[in-house]
């Protein structure tokens, strides 16, 4: 029934948190997702980095990136929990499956185009060159 979707979840943990606490929080987040029937395909600790602007008077934060497969229900639950956790400065979820499908489609189309006209790339490059020559002549 529920279609499978892919999400990227980024969240920022308080920079004052100890390494152990960061691990604990990350595991807690992973558990929420698996409990709700989602699955985690990638976990990346992006480490401590400077924030572009202050959040809660903090100048840096610990970034964690997750890639999640699921129906969307686990994201709702996760966001609800993250909202009330004051160790998590900020979170953002981006749905990526649609964008990836689109990227694949574009790649596909390009491959087919290249196949149909094997000389297309070459003639285009020549056209650009002559364009440049004209521009130079005009200048």
């Amino acid at each position: 029934m529920a279609e499978k979707r892919t999400y990227e979840v980024v969240f920022i943990i308080d920079p004052d948190a100890e390494d152990a606490e960061v691990m604990r929080l990350t595991e807690a987040v992973q558990k929420i997702i698996t409990d709700q029937g989602g699955s985690i395909t990638k976990t990346e600790m992006m480490g401590k980095r400077q924030l572009a602007y202050e959040i809660n008077h903090k100048r840096d934060g610990i970034y964690v990136l997750l890639e999640v497969d699921g129906s969307g229900a686990e994201i709702a639950e996760l966001e609800r929990r993250m909202r009330v956790n004051d160790r998590i400065l900020r979170y953002m979820t981006v749905r990526v499956d649609e964008d990836r499908r689109r990227a694949d489609k574009l790649k596909d189309r390009r491959a087919r185009k290249a196949e149909r006209r094997p000389t297309a790339g070459k003639s285009k490059a020549q056209a650009v060159e002559s364009d440049e020559a004209e521009a130079e002549a005009a200048a």
Partner: protein
């Protein structure tokens, strides 16, 4: 930990053109060679909001999104770029406004 600003200067090369566009009519308009979309040449299908270095080269010092009239990016890629920059701002990878 403040490598952000150091990376910045090397990352963007649009500054001169941006300033020139800011002062219309000051210098006689020179015919510029038509710019070609960098993303089309590199065959980019998706612009990732986590690629801070790339996005910074399209957000000059004020942190605004560089218009495509300056950068020469095609409409499709400008849309992707704008979306990625806005996402990066949300998660504090890029500033909303800088001075």
């Amino acid at each position: 930990m403040s490598t952000n600003f150091d990376e910045r200067d090397s990352a963007y090369g649009f500054e001169r053109e941006y300033e020139r566009a800011g002062m219309p009519g000051r210098a006689p308009r020179r015919m510029q060679r038509r710019k070609i979309c960098r993303f089309c040449i590199d065959k980019v299908d998706y612009i990732d909001f986590k690629d801070v270095k790339l996005l910074q080269s399209y957000t000059p010092e004020r942190g605004k999104i560089l218009p495509r009239r300056i950068s020469g990016v095609c409409a499709t890629h400008q849309r992707m770029l704008a979306e990625a920059i806005k996402r990066a701002r949300n998660i504090a990878l890029l500033p909303y406004a800088a001075d």
